[in-house]
């Protein structure tokens, strides 16, 4: 029987979020899998590694995180009225409307995740996490109207509760994908320099 191997995605996430001892952590995972641990345990460790990374970033830079969350929430609330005419205009063009909505729902989280993934400092990570939190809060108006248009129908004002709360998770997944791609690019770049 072939020994179990740490999934490649788990390895990539460990390398990014494992901190100073990511290599030792990676080796520990291999060792535990060889000793009979399950792949599910492996994924549990990856999830906890990411949670530890996020909580460390927030704890070490609590002021930056809180300030970023407040600033971005305020900024989004302020620019929301300004985006309404653009959204109304975009609704006239089917392809453009889709592009604008996808930009709000997928593009912005993807970009934030990519930036967070390439951040090498906890302060930058904390600011981006704060921004992401503010952005994905379902009360944030531009996000909300994009969810309305895309998931319920153009011009709709009422979002079903489940959609309202599940869409941010989809965006969070896209943010994770952005972070992962940024990590791969940065690692390849570093390897080519070495």
């Amino acid at each position: 029987m072939n020994p179990r191997r740490v999934p490649w995605l788990a390895l990539a996430l460990l390398r990014r979020f494992g901190g100073r001892y990511s290599e030792s952590l990676e080796g520990d995972m291999h060792e535990e899998l060889a000793a009979g641990r399950s792949t599910f345990w492996c994924w549990q460790q990856v999830a906890r590694t990411m949670m530890v990374y996020a909580s460390t970033s927030v704890r070490q830079r609590l002021v930056s995180f809180a300030a970023a969350a407040l600033f971005f929430a305020a900024a989004l609330w302020s620019i929301a009225p300004a985006t309404a005419p653009v959204m109304d205009w975009a609704r006239g063009f089917e392809s453009l409307r889709l592009l604008v909505q996808l930009g709000w729902l997928a593009g912005v989280p993807f970009l934030l995740g990519g930036l967070a993934g390439s951040a090498r400092r906890h302060r930058v990570g904390a600011i981006l996490l704060g921004a992401g939190l503010a952005y994905m809060t379902p009360i944030t108006t531009p996000f909300d109207s994009a969810v309305c248009d895309l998931c319920v129908g153009p011009g709709s004002a009422v979002i079903p509760g489940a959609v309202r709360w599940l869409t941010p998770f989809g965006s969070a997944l896209l943010a994770g994908l952005g972070a992962w791609i940024a990590t791969r690019i940065s690692r390849t770049h570093q390897e080519s320099l070495a």
């Binding site: 901190g19 290599e23 990676e26 080796g27 520990d28 291999h30 535990e32 906890r48 590694t49 530890v52």
Partner: protein, 106 residues
């Protein structure tokens, strides 16, 4: 005056586990020791992040072992207490023992 770095609950547990396990203290062995002795199941990431903090405070030092095939070619990182770490572990442990009410400890 330099602010003194106090030990947190987890930090003290990890520091004591490193002390107990040396020279074989590394991620998995520390997690296993804490689970066996205290009944806490700690994530490996939690252990390593605590070790990072302890190292930043100057309480532990690390040394890399040799890479092995069972670890996917990755080396173990072994941890050991510094003189300051040993002093801090002893003084925190004694302070806790002194604070405990009489008869509270067996």
């Amino acid at each position: 005056m330099r602010r003194r770095d106090y030990l947190g609950h987890l930090e003290l547990m990890v520091l004591l586990a490193v002390w107990r396990l040396k020279p074989e203290a590394y991620g998995i062995s520390i997690a296993r020791e804490i689970e066996q002795q205290c009944g806490y199941s700690m994530a490996l990431a939690g252990i390593y992040s605590t070790l990072e903090r302890l190292q930043d405070k100057g309480f532990i030092k690390s040394k890399r072992g040799a890479p092995t095939p069972t670890r996917g070619g990755r080396a173990r990182t072994y941890f050991d207490l510094t003189a300051t770490g040993l002093e801090e572990a002893q003084s925190t442990f004694h302070a806790l023992t002194r604070l405990a009410p009489k008869g509270a400890l067996p």
